[in-house]
Structure formats: structure tokens, C-alpha cells
Point group: D2
Chain length 351, copies 4
């Protein structure tokens, strides 16, 4: 194994990224070293690339970016348990402290001291990445490698979908970016009676259909609330999985819920926004849940089961496979809105 | 409308039943009168026919039997709300008091004063049956009438399946009588990752396969625990839906659960039986739930959604359609073990 | 019994109210007629008096106001079950349809067709009031009558407090109006480890202390978040019961929660307001629940148990007992902020 | 610090125990070494002493016994985080693997590979004990040291009590050994409306009263079901916390529950026993939960909050403080039934 490798590095406190030769990461006694096979690009990676306000306040300059990937274990720390060399693993990107109240009560996803791969510590847009062994997840064998590469973001969809009643329920997914697309598939596989999907992009709505949406709603042309009522014979939704971060989607989603329904919020709004709490939340007895990360590791078990059993197919949402070399082009593609999930193949690996 | 009709009556405190001409039932101001289109036979009907100990202590002699049916509304009480003449309805068979603590807290399925159609009050093995309007459930339009006829017993399966985690879980159904068969379909439709089914009858196991079981286990030949571990790569089940009433199935089901799993008990054992509580329940942190009836009416909404959305198909479990005239033959068929669900078509209706 | 009675009537579509002689209400076959013994004034009654925008759009002009009261049954409809003449009853003020999805699934508190006593139908600021028998609740015998009079609003507090983890939790109640004061007592009685209370009124904070608050926080002078952290040794709250309707209280309450905590919202904000969803809800994995009414009738059982067992004492929150004749004076007292709960004694009854 | 210490050792595969000089335990890099201040005796210690069948199959001969204790940290492993020398800690006695499904989903209490202090590895009936730092729990400062010594067994009571609805509920504790006594206090502190306690020993029932039981039931003289119905005006219990392991208590507890109630099982029956499942579990829609250990570490947070806030006082249940030197005498005392909780003070410490 060489001492250096190529990686996509956030080289400066400014927009952009740089492909650089860097040292192969060292690894601690409870870590594993992973040879990256396929990575995928998250909306967060876009923000880091564009160096938005959140990135400026959070991202460590010089970090190797990327937190969604699958790879092969090539080295194992002296006290890392549970893995063998050569095993294929996806990775939970949140490295949690294990000591705070949330960590100690099975809620590591809201750890008070989370460090994130590709944000706080070196990530997976590289030939190699070191991760704590507890963060590695053996990928199901019957799952294509590009699907294994998106287990982490699909875990967000699973967490959101499973954060309230789902089976036999009527559900809408607002926002058909990659996680929204995954959420459609997850909700179907996990027993939702009907899954509706909304977006403003005909391209994305087409992907939504291919992921199994029973109906798609182009909210550039139709009112979500009216269309839902029509589809449900006058009833409201049991649940909304909010994936867009759009204030209008939150408001419309709440309005489209039946009394007593639930809204699970994963999409990050760009800024604070206003709500008519009385009409949309209080009088209707709504439950709103903020969703972050993946339940560690309940979400992973759930996702593994859905994938390994063949109930869930994520392929329609993965629209592009590109060499990591073309990272900037991939970023441009995502910004153009002309892609679902884009996965990247590192130097020396086969697409 | 005539004043009299034919009905299957529990005429005497002895084994058997009699087809008799009886008065068309009167109906109260909050009732609807239903012209029965298709009925179906429950295990309970068998017990009543055979006049077992439970029947002797509970069933009113002279009652018109039958509590699973679908029909058409032909008359509506003065204060009965929500229905129009001619609508097709299935019926919840538990007539609950509305005044006890369970009823007043959304748990009518464990009402302290339940009266049951075909047991305590005249039921649906007849040309007409009167039921409280609140017990009538508009059958989904796209559902075949023989499927609508079995909504009540399928509701037992839904209640059992939904009494614990289901989506993305590995589930076994022990006992493939009609409700077990329905439960297989329900668990699949409601998002279970893998559904295994056990029984001692190859005929029933074949039906289980047709209802969507991922694997069937002939417990006359194989050990449930071993086969499950093999199917799950050494892991235990997340849940067991017990439909057989067999003490061995309960014990094996508990043994096949992973620590922290759940066992939902619907099958009625013939008599008290023994359990190694420490090993099977306490040390494993198991949750055991007794299941009776259907949640009123959450279960019906769930079942309606699963059927109307096309997620759930019950037809493979319905093996025989017979005229109600041949009630005794149908009973014999069920006792022989050579049937799944048997549905009956009353006099003057088309099969 | 006379044919007429005195009542506080919303006589005109304008601010104010009028004490009038009106007909004693008739009652239906499933109703009971109640001779009012003690009533109490809700914030809603203030809004109706002041004829705010909500009132203008909702309240029926000519209605007898008042929805919080206790009285004695003086007549029983032909089909009303469960009560005897002379029994003392409090009343659930929401008359629900019984037919919508929420009603049919044990969630009548979010019925789609609720009618409210004293808003949509004649209420209890009168000598007599007719209510559906199912809405009547036998007051626990060992509870003083003025406490029985406030069971309905205290039910709001119970519903809010019980809408998330409570036992062994650290809880803050934001807003110490009457329901906030009740909530302090309820949270203590129901096992919260520590109960903090915030308000801007020293008078109310003093009542909060008397209701059992472990610490009170004058948010006119102190920052809620800082004071809570100090009280909890740097930790956040497990839950916030929001009773003020103040946007600042909602924001501060969310900020004072630990990751994974819950905010239950009962206080009605005057208008839509803005939130930093990312920081306050999503990144922290918070659950926000809109609370309306009382769970029917789970909340009543809970409250009854807390009162009848002596665990909960509401008396410190009841600051004034006045004759109903002095209704306008009572309204003025409430507007002045110089009262906790004010109860009213109708004509001819003893204070 | 000396190299050797005194300890109560299970020296031979036979009844009895031996006080011996042994080596002060070594400790790993993630462990802390604790100087034991007060220990307490569990029923399990009795079984080990008596060398019952369970002990024969499980306990490692030569082990230092004892798993309930509080002490002071005297040494800290190189990678052990969160503690300083001199801190007073109680300890979770279950050392869990961290790798199995239960461990990875917040359910370490049902870890598939648990090792137990004083059973599988050297425990706390000694001058020193080494424990993983994650198992150490900083004792609340305002809690007397003998109470801190019983946090571990009281955690069993908390886990059992919190395994179902508690606040505003009517609860019975069957069996008033030490954990039953703790459970009475916990249920009271955590908001139960009424707590009844049953046992056959007047001595224990007297302790039950002192722990706050609203009523005690001597089941040697009274029928549990009848007495409960009488106390509740004809109603059933919301929950039973089973602490005796007596088959009769399980059956009576189930019979005394209202429909839909819950039974949480902590007491270990001596052998398998029989139940009338239909009548006691299925027809009533009961939830039975097997309880083992403490939720790690939710239970500890809950208990800490109840103790530190002063809501819960365990002192009445602690009837004897003895030097550890008199271990055999303490065992005899427990066997005689003439004690509640017995705590032991090691050599060189003050009682």
C-alpha cells in the first residue's frame, strides 16, 4: 500500500474543492481502514463546495470531504472487533461520543458531541478512509455496490419514514431530491398504503414515479392540499415526510395532514420561517418531529433488512455513476437539477 | 320484503345446527338492516357447532349463528347515521357498551360488556341481519365481495400483526389456518422484511406460500427454532404472530425470538399450559400481548387501506365458495383440514 | 322547576356580554340536564367577551357562554345511561361527532366536527345546562366543588403533560396562567423529577411556587435557557409544556430542551410566528406536539385518579370565588392579571 | 495501596462462601478501580451461596461475589473517560458486548453476551473492584451512601415500573422483598395514583407501608383480586409489578388487572408453571413484559433524577447495616425473612 493517495480536499476557506495527493490516513486501535469502492454526493457536500454560511462555521479547512461511501476493509485496529479483512462495509458518518445522555440512552443520532466524516474529520472522497469499527456496517451481499454506497443517505429516509406510523398509512413525501426518492421506496417497502410525492421538477417527479410513488404532484402547477384530498376521497394524509426544506412545503404538508397526523422534518430550510401554529399544528393535534442522522444503529438494521430481503430497490434513484476525478462536473450536474443520486468511483476502481 | 327468512340456527344445547325459517330481524333506531351477500365460517362457528365447553357456557340457544359477512343495507334506523340504502358493508361483530373504561379510552376491543353477533345476538348466517350502524363498515369498492366477507377475521390478523414492530422486521406466523394465512399477507403488505410460516399441514403450508410467505416450516418435520436461525443467518425473529393455540408453537415461537422480541397471541389454546418463564420470557426481555378482536376502528381503517390500495390480496386463502344451504358440509370440510377459508352464499344470492 | 333562568349570554356581535333571562334548556334523549353549582372562566371566555377575530368567526351570537362547570343532574334523557338524579358531574365541553376517523380511533379530541359548549351550543354560565350524558363525568366525592369546577381546564394541563415522557423527567412550564398553574401541579403529581415554571408576572410566579414548582423563572429578568442550565447543572430539559402562546417562550423553551426532548404546545399564539427550525427542532431531534382539548376520555380517567387519590391539589390556583352576577367584574379581574383561576357561583347557589 | 485485599469468594462448587485474601484486581485501559464503601446483598447472592441449579450452571468458581455496591474511584485506566479520582460511583453490574443487535439498538439490558459482576467476573464484596468506566455511575451527592449502594437493585424496580403506563395509574406490587419495596417507592415517586402491595409476611408488609404503599394486602389471609376490586370500587388494576416469582402471584396479578392492563415480570419463578392464557391474557388483551436488568442507561438517569430531586427515599427498605466480615450472618438474616435490604461495609470502612 502506498503512503499517499488522491482525495477531494476542502483546501481553502472559499468556494470550490481540490483534488490533491494526501497521506493515507492513519487509524486508531478501534478503527478500520477502508479502501473506498464507491462514494456518493450529498447535498451537504454541495454546501461545503459552495462554502455557504453553515460550512464556514463548521467545516475544517483541509479536510478530505465525503461521508457517503462503501469500501473494503484493508486494515483493522488492534482492538477493533467484528470485521475481517476484505469485508465490504458501508459507514455511519456520525462519530458519536458515547458519553452524553442521548448516547447513553440509545439516541446517538442526537449526540451532543457528534463529529462527522468529511466535515470534522477526513472523509470518503478518497482512496482510503479510516473509520471507527463501530461505524462500519457490513453491506448485504445481494445488494449492488452502488446501492451499498447510498445506504447512509437512505438511512436518513428510513429514519424519517419510521419516525411515526407508516404501515397501512397514506403518506406524502415533499421534495424528490435523492433522500426524498429513497423515502418513496422506503415508505412503499415498509407498508405504506399509498405514497404520494411532490416536487416542482418534472424530471424528479418522473424519478419519483419510478421509485414507486402512487401519484406525483407537481406543486408548480397543482395545490398539494387539493390534490391530496382528491386522491384520498376528501381525507387528509396520515403522515408527511418533508425532504425539501421549503417553507411552503412544510405549510402545505401540515395543511394536507388529517387531524392527529404527523410531519417528520428532514429537509433543512435555508432560514427561519413563519407558521400559523394554531391552524396548522395546535388545533389539528399534529406531531412534528425534527429528524437528524440515522438511529444508531436501529435504522441500519431496518435498512439492511429492507435491502437484503429485496423489498427495497434504490437503483432508479441513482442516475449517474462517474469517476471521482470528475468531482466538479458531478457537482455541476447536481446543481443543474438534472440528476437524482450521483455516485463517484475513486481512482483505480471500476465504475 | 318477506317477514320470514332462512337462517342457520343453534337450535339446541347439543352438537349441530339447523336451517330454519325465522322472522326477519327487527332493528333499532341506531341500527341498519343488512341483506347478507356472502358470509364466512370462523373457527368459533365450528366450536358452536360442536357445542364445546366454551359454547355451552356462552352461546344463547336459539341464536342465529355467523359473525363474518358482507351485505347490502336494505333499511336504516331513524337515528342511524352515515349510510345510504344499497351500500355494501362488512361488519364488526363486537357490539360494545361504550361506557366502560376500555370503551371510553379507545380500546373497545376489550370492552367489559361485549356482545357478539352470532353468539349473544342473532348473526349473519341468514338472509338478513340487523347491526348497529356504528358496526357497519363500507366495503372498499375495488375489493371482490368474497374478500369483503372476510374483512372481520382478517381484522384479527391485522390487529395481531400491528400489535408490535412489523416494518423491516423478520416475522413468523405460527399456524396457517385462515387467520394465519391472512396474517402472512398482512405482514407482507405492511412491510415485514421476511415472513415465515409454520404449520403441520402440507396443504396449509402450500396456501401459506401462495399468501406470500418467504419460507414455510413444516413443524411436523423440522424444528422451528433451528430452521429460523438457519433462515436468518443465526439471528432470532423480531416477532411471532401466534395463530395456532398450540402450546408447543408458543414455546417454540418464544425460543425463536431474539432478545427483546415480541409474541402476539391470538390463537386460543384448548387448556392452560406451562411455560419456562425465566428462559423464554424474563431473561430475554420479551413482550407478550394477548390479542382479541379488532381495534375499533383503527384496525378497520388499516385493513381498508391495505385492501383498497391493492397492497393486500386475500383471495389465495379463500379456497371454497358454497351455498349456505350446504352449511353442514362446509363444517365437515373445515374439520377435515382440507380448506382454507370457506365462504357461504345465502339463499337467493349468486355464488 | 321554573321555565326560565338567568344566564350570561353573548347577546350581540360586539364586545361584552349580558345577563339575561332565558328559557331553561331542553334536552335530548341521550342528554342530561345539569343544575350548575360552580362554573369557571376560561381565557376563551375572555376572547368571546372581547369579541376578538377568532370569536367573530366562530361564536354563535345569542349563545349562553361558559364551558367549565360542575353541577348536579336534575333530569335524564330517556336513553341517557350511567347516571342517577342528584349526581355531581363535571363536563367535557367538546361534543364530538363519533363518526370521523379521529373519533373512531380513540382520538375524539381532534374530531373533525367538534361543537363546543358555550361557543357553538348553550353553555354553563347559567342556572342549567344540557349536555350529552357521555360528556358528563362523575366528580370524585372527596374533591371540593370548586376544584371539580375546574376539571375541564385542568384536563388540558393533564393532556399536555401526558403528551410525552414525564415521570423522572425535568420539565418546564412556560406561562403560569391557570392552565399553566394546573400543569405544575399535574407534572409534580405525575412524577416529574423537577418542575420549573416561567412567567413575567411575580404574582403568577408566586402561585406557581404554591402549586409546587421547584424553581420559578421570571423571564422579564432572567434568561430561561441560562437559568435552566444552571438549575440542571448544565443539562437541558426533558420536556417543556408551553402554556403562554408567546413566540419567545416557544423559542426559549426549544432552546432549553436537551437534544431529543419534547415541546407540547397548548398556548395559542396571537399570530403566526417564525422559528429557526434547523437549530431549534431538526438538529436537536425535537418532538413538537400540538395539544387541543382533552383525550376523550383517557385524560379524564387520569385526572380523576390524580384528584381522587389526593396526589393533586388544585386549590392554590383558584384565587377567587365570586357570584356569577358579578361576571363583568370577574372578567376585569382576569384582564388585570391579578387572578389565578376565578370561579363563579350561579344565582341561588352558595359560594 | 496494598497488593492484596479481603473478599467474599465463591471458593468451591458447593454451598457456602469464604472470606479470603486475594489480589487487588488489575484493571484495563477503559476500566476504573473502585474502593468499595458499601455493598448490598441481592437474592442472586443467596442463590450463589446456596449453590442452586442456576448457580451451578453459571457461576465461575473462585469468583469474588457481589454486584451491588458504591465506592470511590482510586485508579483510572488510560482511556477511561468521564471520571476523576475520588469520585463516588455506583455501578451497573451488566458488562455488555456492545456488538449484538440489542446493544446496538439501545437495548443493552438484553445483550446476548452479558457478563455479570460477581457472577462471571470478580465483583464487589471486596475492598476493591475493577469495572468498565462506562458501567460506573456518579452517585448523586445528596444521597446517603447506603442508598447509593442499592441503586443497582433499585434500578430493577425502576425498569419494571417504567415498562408500562405508570403516572395516574393504579398499580400493585406483588412481593415485598427489597426490589418490591423499592418498586413501591418508585411507583409513588413516579406518579402512580395508588400503589398497593402484597406479600405473605407481616414484617415485609409493614416495610411496604413505610415505603408508601396506599394499601397492603396479606395474601396469606386475603384474596388479591377481591381486595383490589374493593379498594378500587369494582375496577381492575392498570398495572402489576411482579416481584415475587410466585406462580400464584402471577395468576392473581393477571386476574386483578383490568382489560388492557399490563403485567411486568421481574420475579423469577423457581420452575415452569401453568397459566390459563385465554382467560388471563388473551380475552383481556393483556401485555406481559419480561424484565431483566436495567435499561442502559436510561434507567440510571431516571433513578438518579428521582433520588437527586428528593422524590424517592429508599431508606425505609434498608433494614440492616453490617460489616462485610459478618457476611454469613447477613445471609442467614435474609433467609430468615427478617430483613428488608441488608447492606455490608467492607473491612476498614465505617458503617
Amino acid at each position: 500500500m502506498a503512503n499517499t493517495m488522491l482525495a477531494v480536499v476542502k483546501a481553502e476557506a472559499a468556494p470550490g474543492a481540490e483534488i490533491r495527493e494526501v497521506k493515507v490516513p492513519g487509524f486508531g486501535r478501534t478503527d478500520v481502514l477502508v479502501k473506498v469502492k464507491v462514494a456518493s454526493i450529498c447535498g451537504t457536500d454541495l454546501h461545503i463546495y459552495e462554502w455557504d454560511r453553515w460550512s464556514q462555521g463548521r467545516v475544517r479547512v483541509g479536510v478530505t470531504t465525503g461521508h457517503e461511501f462503501v469500501g473494503e476493509i484493508v486494515a483493522i485496529g488492534a482492538e477493533a472487533r467484528g470485521f475481517a479483512l476484505g469485508e465490504r462495509v458501508a459507514c455511519e458518518s456520525h462519530i458519536v461520543c458515547g458519553h452524553c445522555l442521548p448516547c447513553r440512552t440509545g439516541n446517538g443520532h442526537v449526540c451532543e458531541n457528534t463529529r462527522i466524516l468529511g466535515v470534522d474529520v477526513n472523509g470518503g472522497f478518497a482512496e482510503y478512509v479510516a473509520v471507527p469499527a463501530v461505524n462500519a456496517w457490513r453491506a448485504p451481499r445481494n445488494v449492488p455496490i452502488e446501492v451499498a454506497a447510498v445506504m447512509e443517505p437512505c438511512g436518513n429516509a428510513v429514519h424519517t419514514a419510521f419516525a411515526g406510523p407508516l404501515a397501512a398509512c397514506n403518506i406524502a413525501v415533499t421534495g424528490c431530491g435523492p433522500i426524498g426518492l429513497f423515502a418513496i421506496g422506503v415508505a412503499r417497502a415498509a407498508g405504506a398504503a399509498r405514497v404520494f410525492a411532490s416536487d416542482v421538477s418534472p424530471f424528479r417527479l418522473d424519478l419519483a414515479r419510478r421509485m414507486g410513488a402512487d401519484a406525483v404532484i407537481d406543486v408548480a402547477k397543482e395545490l398539494l392540499v387539493e390534490r391530496v384530498r382528491e386522491l384520498l376521497g376528501g381525507q387528509g394524509l396520515d403522515g408527511v415526510l418533508e425532504m425539501s426544506g421549503s417553507p411552503q412545503a412544510v405549510r402545505d404538508g401540515l395543511a394536507a395532514l388529517r387531524n392527529g397526523g404527523r410531519l417528520s422534518l428532514l429537509g433543512l430550510p435555508k432560514e427561519p420561517f413563519e407558521l400559523d401554529w394554531n391552524r396548522l399544528v395546535i388545533f389539528k393535534g399534529i406531531t412534528v418531529r425534527g429528524i437528524i442522522g440515522r438511529r444508531m444503529y436501529e435504522t441500519w438494521y431496518q435498512l439492511d433488512n429492507l435491502l437484503a430481503s429485496g423489498r427495497l430497490d434504490l437503483k432508479p434513484a441513482i442516475t449517474h455513476v462517474m469517476p471521482m476525478e470528475r468531482f466538479e462536473e458531478a457537482i455541476g450536474l447536481l446543481k443543474s437539477g438534472g440528476a437524482g443520486k450521483v455516485v463517484l468511483v475513486p481512482w483505480g476502481e471500476d465504475a
